[in-house]
């Protein structure tokens, strides 16, 4: 291996690592606020990339129908819940219609615009909007009524959600894979190492977004409310922070991060309906190694995971997945040596 190849592998690893970092941060965030270990994070990645691919083909993306179905079920759930709780019909109707508004507007806009020739940025925005709108709906459907369940039950629910979403992705996007065109075709050169424009875009976007998250959690009221929920749910509730709202907001962010990652990674690899899972899991590996607790930790580990993956694909390409996922075991073992008896009673 010479320096050029090493450089190329490093660039490759770091760009993928940046995506894993985004997804890892989302995993840490969702776990911290809701105690949900969000396995289906990767599904949003596939949804994002495939939605954009459909728009590029002038088709109405399957995400539109999925979003509408989810919104309708949530509306039904809300309406029935309100009637059962004894609310007057008018009020029940309002509560049922409310969750429909944003999904129907986004879906309507998408259906109307899809057949037209659109500039790239508008397709990107529509894709982001469609997938992001699913986040809070998913939280309401699968998790909200189980908020006080143990992390273990929530984890099994997550696996169920992953199963369902993968099947639905196959139904709505079909079995074909897509590779989106690069947002920026430029080829750059640093020393002897070639870097393509897409890598730069991925890296810069991921970094900007991570800084934005940092700002959001450190300096905005919403961000602080989420952090409060993460530290102590009951305390936050007493301060007037709704855990429902916190959960929905977190899932909105998680869906957005997933979709964004999907748009970024779409031009570098072929995405199928079920590709998101593996991509998401690598961010997940980073989050777990960082202890599901530290944002900077997840960021650093994610870049490391990207690098390990890149270099192991050079030396032992068949075993790169084996190596990446096996990384988790020694990390957990190290962590387990610091477990003491007082880590109980939570």
């Amino acid at each position: 291996m010479d320096i050029t190849i090493a450089g190329m592998l490093a660039v490759d690893g770091l760009t993928n690592g940046a995506i894993y970092a985004l997804l890892g941060l989302a995993t840490v965030m969702v776990f911290a606020v809701t105690r949900v270990i969000f396995i289906p994070q990767g599904e949003f990645v596939a949804f994002g990339a495939l939605t954009l691919a459909m728009f590029i083909d002038h088709k109405v993306p399957g995400t539109v129908w999925l979003l509408l179905i989810m919104a309708l079920v949530v509306a039904l759930q809300e309406g029935v819940g309100a009637v059962r709780a004894g609310a007057p019909f008018q009020q029940a109707l309002t509560r049922a219609v409310k969750p429909l508004l944003i999904p129907f507007m986004t879906a309507g806009l998408s259906i109307w615009l899809a057949p037209h020739e659109l500039p790239m940025w508008s397709m990107v925005l529509l894709s982001l909007a469609l997938v992001t709108a699913m986040g809070p709906l998913l939280y309401r459907l699968a998790y909200q009524s189980l908020e006080s369940a143990t992390p273990l039950v929530l984890l099994i629910v997550s696996v169920g959600v992953h199963f369902a979403l993968t099947g639905l992705a196959l139904l709505f996007f079909g079995p074909e894979g897509f590779r989106n065109p690069a947002f920026w075709d430029e080829r750059l050169q640093i020393g002897t190492v070639p870097i393509n424009g897409q890598a730069v875009i991925i890296f810069v976007t991921a970094l900007l977004f991570i800084v934005a998250l940092w700002y959001f959690f450190g300096n905005t009221l919403f961000g602080k409310a989420l952090r409060a929920t993460a530290v102590n749910r009951n305390g936050a509730r007493l301060m007037g922070i709704s855990t429902h709202t916190a959960g929905q907001l977190t899932f909105t962010l998680a869906a957005f991060i997933g979709a964004l990652s999907g748009l970024l990674i779409g031009p570098t690899t072929t995405i199928l309906y079920d590709s998101g899972f593996l991509i998401g899991l690598k961010g997940f590996v980073a989050a777990v190694i960082a202890g599901l607790a530290s944002y900077p930790g997840a960021l650093v580990v994610a870049l490391g995971v990207g690098l390990v993956e890149a270099f192991s694909s050079f030396w032992a390409s068949a075993f790169k997945e084996v190596i990446v996922f096996a990384l988790i075991l020694p990390a957990l073992w190290l962590r387990s040596r610091h477990v003491t008896d007082d880590e109980e009673e939570h």
Binding site: S145, G160, A164, L165, T166, G174, F319, L329, R335
Partner: protein, 589 residues
């Protein structure tokens, strides 16, 4: 074990024999065969998830180890099935032991995450190794042949696989209904209570993890010969999840839930795979949508799975009282009245900069009830946790019966006869009062997993039950022994905890706020029990807020405030002490 339950096992065996004689169509024989294979893996998962609270998504990987060992050894070395079974089980057992040692110390959700990771890496490993035929796998195995008989793929296979399933179920039933079984059940709600009863929680976690893996491995061995081929797709994460799904659907709390879940999911899988693609007009594995949604719905509305319905119909069974002739468990030699039992010397605990317990010293003598009181936040419970070894000491020494016990594990201190109760009752709610109390006798008995499975523990089990019943009568719960622990009112749950502690034949009893939340009559009953225990020579250290109770039963009272020692003396002396009044009521300025 009750007669009815034992009878149930025989009914199931009779049904298996009957099924093997019926002229079932080949399609249904195949469904039954797969159900048997899956249920075998699910049994282990019930033990892990439902009983002990450890979730694994990686069981499919263990099935894979068993299957690949069988396939590779019989194709390349021509080894017979019996040999490949032994080898496969050994390999799986060792891998599970290693993985278990690495991951089982972690709390809660880290284990399932680790299982996801190894499930994936093992899948890619199987799929990329040249020797294992990469993603195509290994093909061309012979059918299962045992002792010269070809078992084939039909009815014969049904008999073999379901017999194994039945034997495994019987073995696990015996196991769960024994000393190690109660310890395993105690793992579910954290390890504090179990450790305080002298249970080596980590050891049991590794043990059941290995048992579950071995069951999966046997299923894999059967699967290899049944399908006469192996390939990685049956051992990936998707299947790991599906096994867990079966268990959740069937009911993770019962071994029969594994049978039911495996059957229901197998049949559903088959039907959905046939119908959904027709319905939707395209091919693909859409059954995952139904399964995913079902999983979420079941966890929401029927978290105990489908078996809980059957269980309601069957009604509850009571343990038969068969221990009248039981030997008495060995008792420790007790210290003479007035000897120092517990000697606490300058113990200290600091959390970072905060000193929660600051150089506290006191003694408890045999036959004495000592009260430890102080306003909220005085460090009483922390002192308790330091003495019992639940928290490590920052400094100081604790002598129990003249021996140093500082620095020992909670369970080793418990084994020496220092037993405790908890501020918030810790019990196994779904078990009977009698079984809950029997956990207390853990450190006084020896029966382990193998003797339980082979039923060589009957004598000891009888002795344990006799002891548990005796202690329950001692605290006045003799009429409640068959009740489900969760159904007891609070006061009686606390008495049950005392009986559980007494079951260990302790020298010293540590009671953490036993009167918290009790009604007047319940409190009277508790006081009666405490005085009676004292009259029988028991030494008791009591943390309590209820002053009536403390002043009434204690001979000596130690007062703490803000982690420091304030004073000690008789109830009258303490009540008269201005420092104590100031601590509780504030000082006049």
């Amino acid at each position: 074990m009750s007669r009815l339950r034992r009878y149930n096992l025989w009914v199931v065996l009779a049904v298996i024999v009957l099924l093997s004689l019926l002229p079932l169509p080949a399609f249904w024989v195949a469904q039954l065969n797969y159900t048997g294979l899956f249920a075998l893996t699910c049994l282990g998962l019930v033990l892990l998830t439902g009983v002990a609270g450890l979730t694994s998504f990686g069981q499919a990987a263990f099935v894979g180890i068993g299957a690949y060992t069988a396939a590779w050894c019989s194709l390349n070395l021509g080894w017979p099935p019996t040999v490949t079974l032994i080898l496969g089980v050994t390999l799986t057992g060792v891998s599970a032991w290693v993985i278990g040692r690495i991951t089982l110390r972690l709390s809660g959700h880290y284990l399932p995450l680790a299982t996801i990771a190894w499930g994936l890496s093992l899948y890619y490993l199987m799929g990329n190794l040249e020797a294992l035929g990469k993603y195509d796998g290994l093909i061309g195995l012979n059918s299962l042949t045992l002792f010269g008989h070809e078992i084939g793929q039909g009815r014969g296979f049904f008999v073999v696989s379901w017999s194994l399933l039945w034997v495994a179920t019987v073995a696990l039933t015996f196991l769960l209904n024994s000393r190690p079984g109660r310890a395993i059940r105690a793992l579910k709600d954290g390890r504090q209570m179990a450790e305080a009863m002298g249970v080596d929680t980590f050891g049991y976690k590794v043990t059941i993890f290995v048992i579950a893996a071995v069951l999966a491995s046997v299923a894999g061995w059967l699967m290899a010969y049944y399908q006469r081929a192996v390939n990685p797709s049956a051992f990936g994460l998707k299947w790991g999840i599906e096994y867990l799904f079966m268990v959740v659907v069937g009911g993770a709390g019962s071994l029969w839930g594994a049978w039911l879940g495996a059957g229901v999911v197998r049949v559903l899988d088959e039907q959905l795979q046939a119908w959904l693609p027709q319905l939707l007009g395209m091919s693909g594995s859409f059954e995952s949508i139904v399964f995913g949604v079902m999983l979420v719905l079941i966890l929401k509305y029927r978290p105990d799975g489908l078996w809980s319905w059957v269980q309601q119909g069957l009604g509850k069974t009571e343990r038969t009282r068969d221990w009248d002739d039981a030997d008495v468990l060995t008792q420790r030699t007790k210290p003479a009245m007035g000897d120092v039992v517990l000697d606490v010397q300058k113990i200290r605990k600091s959390f970072g900069g905060l000193v929660a317990v600051n150089d506290i010293s006191f003694q408890v003598r045999a036959g004495q009830i000592v009260g430890l009181i102080g306003p909220n936040g005085a460090g009483k419970s922390t002192t308790f946790n330091l003495i019992t070894g639940t928290l490590p000491l920052s400094a100081g020494e604790v002598y129990f019966g003249g021996q140093p016990v500082h620095g020992l594990h909670a369970r080793d201190i418990a084994k020496r006869g220092l037993m405790r109760t908890f501020q918030h009752v810790k019990m196994i709610p779904e078990m009977s009062v009698l079984d809950n109390v029997a956990i207390g006798a853990h450190s006084r008995s020896k029966g382990e997993v193998f003797s339980a499975i082979l039923r060589r523990n009957r004598g000891e089990e009888k002795s344990i039950m006799a002891e548990a019943e005796r202690q329950l009568k001692r605290v006045g719960l003799g009429d409640w022994i068959h009740e489900q622990a969760a159904n007891l009112p609070m006061g009686q749950q606390r008495l049950m905890e005392i009986a559980r502690a007494l079951c260990a034949d302790p020298t010293l009893l540590l009671l953490d706020e036993p009167a918290a939340g009790l009604r007047y009559l319940e409190k009277q009953e508790l006081m009666r029990v405490l005085r009676q225990l004292q009259s029988e020579g028991m030494s008791i250290l009591l943390v309590e807020h209820d002053m009536d109770l403390v002043m009434d039963v204690c001979e000596t009272i130690v007062v703490m405030e803000f982690g420091t020692y304030l004073t000690q003396g008789t109830p009258d002396e303490v009540q008269a002490d201005p420092k104590v009044r100031a601590a509780y009521l504030g000082t006049e300025h």
